[in-house]
Assembly symmetry: C2
Amino acid sequence: MKLPSLMLAAAAIGLIAMQFNAWAADTGESIVGQGVPGKVTPCATCHGVRGEGGGDGVFPRVAGLPAAYIETQLKAFRDGGRSSPLMSPMAVGLSDADISAIATYLERQQPMFFAPPKAEPVQLERGQNLVTLGRWAQGIPSCTSCHGAALQGVEPAIPSLAGQSWQYLSAQLEAYRSGQRAPGPLQLMGRIARGLNSQEIQDVSVYIASLRPGARPEIPRPATPEPYRAKPQSPDTFVPPPESAIPAGPYGELIRFGQSIFEDTPKHAAHYAGNTLSCRNCHLDRGRDPKSSPMWAAYVHYPEYRKKDGLVNTLQMRIQGCFRYSQNGTVPDADSRELTALVTYFYWMASGLPVGVTPKAAGYPKLNAPQAIPSPERGARVYASSCALCHGDNGLGRGRGGEQVFPPLWGPQSFNWGAGMHQVDRAAGFIKASMPYGAGGTLTDQEAWDVAAYVNSRPRPQDPRFSESVEKTRALYHSDHEYDYYGREIDGLLLGAPGTLEQWEKSNK
Amino acid sequence: MKLPSLMLAAAAIGLIAMQFNAWAADTGESIVGQGVPGKVTPCATCHGVRGEGGGDGVFPRVAGLPAAYIETQLKAFRDGGRSSPLMSPMAVGLSDADISAIATYLERQQPMFFAPPKAEPVQLERGQNLVTLGRWAQGIPSCTSCHGAALQGVEPAIPSLAGQSWQYLSAQLEAYRSGQRAPGPLQLMGRIARGLNSQEIQDVSVYIASLRPGARPEIPRPATPEPYRAKPQSPDTFVPPPESAIPAGPYGELIRFGQSIFEDTPKHAAHYAGNTLSCRNCHLDRGRDPKSSPMWAAYVHYPEYRKKDGLVNTLQMRIQGCFRYSQNGTVPDADSRELTALVTYFYWMASGLPVGVTPKAAGYPKLNAPQAIPSPERGARVYASSCALCHGDNGLGRGRGGEQVFPPLWGPQSFNWGAGMHQVDRAAGFIKASMPYGAGGTLTDQEAWDVAAYVNSRPRPQDPRFSESVEKTRALYHSDHEYDYYGREIDGLLLGAPGTLEQWEKSNK
């Protein structure tokens, strides 16, 4: 097919899709407003004609939810995966086409907001803390980690939360907690809700419901920072200072700027980021998590000689390596404001930690050698069941509204061959300890090895040091790694698993 | 006087001086070889015709000693300041002119070396440690601090030690220790010798005597570094790792390079040093001394916001400030090998020290406010009695053989107005705690304030940030310092004390 006819065909497919969606939205509007005569009461009775919710928040807002999420829920009510005395009988009367039409219509509706609940500032701040920071040390990621920085939700499985009623939010969290609602994909919400007490569920729900249209939850910033005096701490029981202790003034501002870069590198270090990854994608809990190479441990570990470049690396040089390989980007100068901010953020996090004494938490956890040679084929199955939910069937990550929520694990927006995560052993250690979010340790060691091999056998950008041939470059920079996929993505493609180069190109044109 | 006639006059003076010296050397040779008939036995009887020493080292080598030192010693023997059953009766027969002639002749003789003493390597290493590192924590500077990196001695008071016999060296140290020999200028050698035991005196003497012509003592470098494992330490009782623990390999090499820059900045960071000062001149004991702003304390203190430039400074930026102001030089890039080496050296020194906890030793000691406003006039008298011995009557420092041993405190080779030491309070705290070498704490607080005011009222290079006028620049950068001489060296000149601009120009043409 020549290029002009290819473009014509693509245009035709686009036109058909638009027409289908328009038809589905009309049908959806009709079912929501009038129901299915003789079978289904109009959704609008409880949820409003535009899905705005009702009963002062007893009936949740469904407008603006991801269509796939609505479909999944309605089918679950219909087929028994989720039960509700009100919803289950209704859903039984809906065909797949009805459900799809409802979902298409509702997703298009502007989310409306209930009147903000009455709440004390101290309760809102407690809620904001959990929503934006989570409590990773007890396996509770922040809500924003999965629902997105604007709580906008992610197709297909993760609902938007912004503007939802606090009654509905707290009822669902309590239902997850008690097991009355099934624990959700990968059992994530069940785990998380069981880690919260009723007060915390109230705090989170009230805070989310208090957010106004367009507001994005931000880390609380007390007017008067919590008094904090760094004290010497033991490296193996180290706890970084709390966020609330970030001081006022230019020093604190620079710490916050470093933290912002860490949270959202493409946004705050736009000049240097070469892909959509952020520092926090590999170093969880904003670089604090002891199981994913915490930045406080890195702070006291550099300068150190690295074989990778044959030089003693300062911390600045080490971070430059992250920009070059993990972010496949441009290296900021050692004295750029961005690097100074990151170093200052790490320094502050390391308050009280002894210099040059390696904490147990340094680097990524090491797995024992695998019992069987890591297999991308087996890994593809682990990936499909445990990773694709967030990272996508095609490994390109997931987000919503143009915002990346879950990072791409391969493809043009992921780390390149030169990155540490492209070492299968390192990726396996990270995955075993920390993946999926809030469910670290649930894969077997062999599953972690296999899925790491799978991910690293997928196509990704070339090592910027590439010269002449894969063999020569590998000999120079990657010769001593086991289970190595350096420059071998072509082999990966032959496996026929998801994430072929074709898909990559299609998703990135 | 016009320029040509000025040059003629200078040439004439030079010629006369050369002729006088030639006459003096001839006369000196005659007295050394033949004595003064009827009064003085020939020096050569014991010390050899070229002052090479004799009696297998019992009679010291006097060849190559600084002339002024020889004069001082002979006059001391003659006038009773120093006593010896052999030397005192001889010296009585010498006129001032005889002494001057002997000194001129002997200084010109190439120092000869006795056969090296037999010694175990372990003893030599012990001696080398004391000679090159000293034991500052107990107030014992390294021998090289005052006698010069090549132990070449310094006019007028400090003899060369290289190639001296171990018998003579140990006999003199023992004599200083017992008080049999007067404790020397500022009582320095008396203090130092009392800090050594007899074994250490032997070690030092044997090591120095073992040095061959042209050899420079270097910090011992064990083939196998001492095993050292950094352990968390309390910030207020912190002890940096010993030199002998600097590891092998590229990391250790970079530490040593950083240490070399610290020891001799003009030599090892030649591209950036703008004067003859080295880091160690203000941070004693190679940056380890807790009383002079130790570098291990600085390491855990940065990044920090500084009013000086209105920025959060990384350690690299802070060191760049030293190059710009204290060294009146050029700023190395943040990722230059020199800065990386210095940071790596400081990092290694800080092993075990908690990040962000300020040790008591951080910065320079603070003095209580002075009882009287610090007076350059009084300070000039303190300077003459306690500082000029090493730093020179003209403040331009002292050295020998083209090598700076004691740093210039003002003049074109000293720090500029923008340096921290140009703050009278900081200079006073440093001087009180650490000056003279090995005799810290011997000045009163008021003397330290006064001499700091004197030193800082002397002419020195301009702040590189200078713009428009002293008043305007001072308002921008130096407004909140008490007893301030910022840009006021002209006032200083009016005091008529040593170190006028004329002398500066004369000494530096």
